[in-house]
């Protein structure tokens, strides 16, 4: 029943995003704008290594904040969240649906942001590093989505959510930023070096597992009065 309810909520969220196009286009536009700003701000046509890795992941992280702030936007209008809470469902379903929606938004964002990054800023050829980069992106996205949905639920009913979301979310995502940037750095060097990829992927998998389990355990209480 939990998964059926989660599927129903996810389908509803995707239908709303498809109709309003409020989250993914904003995230994509934000990311491309930041890449353009870095292009001019650094006064460099090409970057590589730790700088490229840092720029990429900080941009994706900040774009995530936009989506997290809007994750419960539809529920806040006309008491729609009450309608969901009145249903005989496990409230974990709401978390699973919101985390899945955020994960899909991130995947769509990266389909636009990664090529834009490669064109606007990156020196080395991205296609060489693609298989490893996809593994890093997948694990990072699970972490961003898992923690993002938790924070969105926490801030959903608060008046200061615009402030609260970045203040809570960004510190919690520091481990993801460190791991994904460290794992990505060797892949974006002009002369690829030896990597600790396995170590960082393992770290991210552990982070994802801990936070998703924690969120599943506490989300019910977050939506309680």
């Amino acid at each position: 029943m939990t998964f059926a309810a989660a599927r129903a909520i996810l389908r509803k969220d995707l239908a709303i995003e498809l109709r309003t196009r409020q989250s993914v286009p904003a995230m994509a536009l934000f990311s491309v704008t930041v890449f353009v700003l870095f292009h001019f701000g650094l006064d460099r046509n090409e970057i590589d290594g730790s700088l490229a890795s840092g720029v990429l992941w900080v941009t994706l992280l900040l774009a995530t904040v936009l989506a997290v702030s809007r994750l419960f936007a539809a529920e806040r209008e006309d008491g729609a969240l009450d309608g969901v809470l009145l249903a005989p469902i496990d409230r974990t379903a709401v978390y699973l649906a919101k985390a899945s929606a955020l994960f899909l938004y991130l995947v769509l964002l990266e389909l636009i942001a990664l090529p834009a990054f490669a064109i606007l800023l990156l020196g080395p050829d991205l296609t060489q590093a693609l298989p490893e980069l996809l593994a890093i992106v997948a694990l990072a996205d699970i972490g961003l989505a898992g923690v993002g949905a938790l924070v969105a639920g926490l801030a959903a009913e608060t008046r200061l959510r615009e402030v609260l979301v970045p203040l809570l979310l960004l510190p919690l995502l520091v481990p993801v930023l460190i791991a994904s940037a460290k794992a990505t750095k060797p892949l974006l060097m002009l002369n690829p070096a030896a990597t600790d990829l396995g170590k960082w992927l393992g770290f991210m998998a552990l982070y994802d597992m801990v936070f998703v389990l924690l969120a599943v355990a506490v989300f019910d209480f977050l939506l309680e009065d």
């Binding site: 059926a4 239908a15 008491g79 729609a80 249903a87």
Partner: protein, 224 residues
């Protein structure tokens, strides 16, 4: 002996330091209609939200359909239909998409959605987003949402708001006396609510002024 659908004893609910409900004690037999009266801010909506298991009582006991709140709230959810000030519908989804969504959450067969839309007379607007409907139509869609899962208890907060007389009449089988459900009706329409009610509850600043049988003079006194 008629079983009670709702049993409240010394019910209290606060918002911070402010008491929104205090000492509410009454029983509502199954199938009966309770009308709740009180001026703005008297605690009517708070009472309905407690009964819907959306708010936790802070003191006293609340028993709904044999389940104690808040501990057994999960048993109550899905057995009450709540028609509040807000439609609880998604503005960017169509009437049909909204009801399909609620049908999935409540485990209601998909074909019931068409019946619910027809019952509120919105067949011709089923494919329109909620944001494009008039307020009266939104209220009709909200009635369809609140009754879709055939709830045992209906919690109605100004249910006739935004409805023209013909629409209000047409919705009587769903939310009126003929529905046969236990109903808690919060309304400022004293005459209509008293005509509908088997029992009345008067609230003033969250405190129970009267409970049980009430006459119009007593109710009008609340608004004086």
């Amino acid at each position: 002996m008629t079983e009670n659908a709702i049993e409240l004893a010394g019910l209290e609910r606060r918002y911070g330091e402010r008491s929104a409900l205090s000492g509410v004690t009454l029983n509502v037999p199954a199938g009966a209609t309770l009308a709740v009266f009180g001026s703005n801010g008297a605690g009517k909506t708070t009472l309905l939200r407690v009964l819907a298991a959306l708010l936790r009582p802070h003191a006293g006991t609340a028993n709904v359909l044999g389940s104690a709140l808040p501990d057994e709230a999960w048993k109550v959810r899905g057995r009450v239909g709540y028609l509040g000030h807000d439609s609880m519908l998604y503005r960017d989804l169509t009437v049909k998409q909204n009801l399909d969504f609620h049908a999935r959450l409540h485990g209601v067969a998909p074909e019931k959605v068409e019946e619910a839309i027809a019952a509120v007379g919105l067949e011709h607007r089923a494919g329109d987003p909620i944001r494009e409907l008039s307020r009266g139509m939104v209220q009709r869609a909200a009635v369809a949402r609140a009754t879709l899962h055939d709830p045992a208890i209906l919690l109605l907060d100004e249910p006739r708001a935004n409805l023209d007389p013909a629409a209000a009449e047409a919705l009587e089988p769903l939310i009126g006396k003929p529905s046969g459900r236990t109903r808690v009706l919060a309304s400022h329409d004293v005459e209509h609510a008293l005509a509908e009610a088997d029992l009345a509850l008067g609230l003033k600043a969250g405190r129970q002024v009267f409970a049980g049988k009430a006459d119009e003079k007593q109710v009008r006194g609340l608004y004086a």
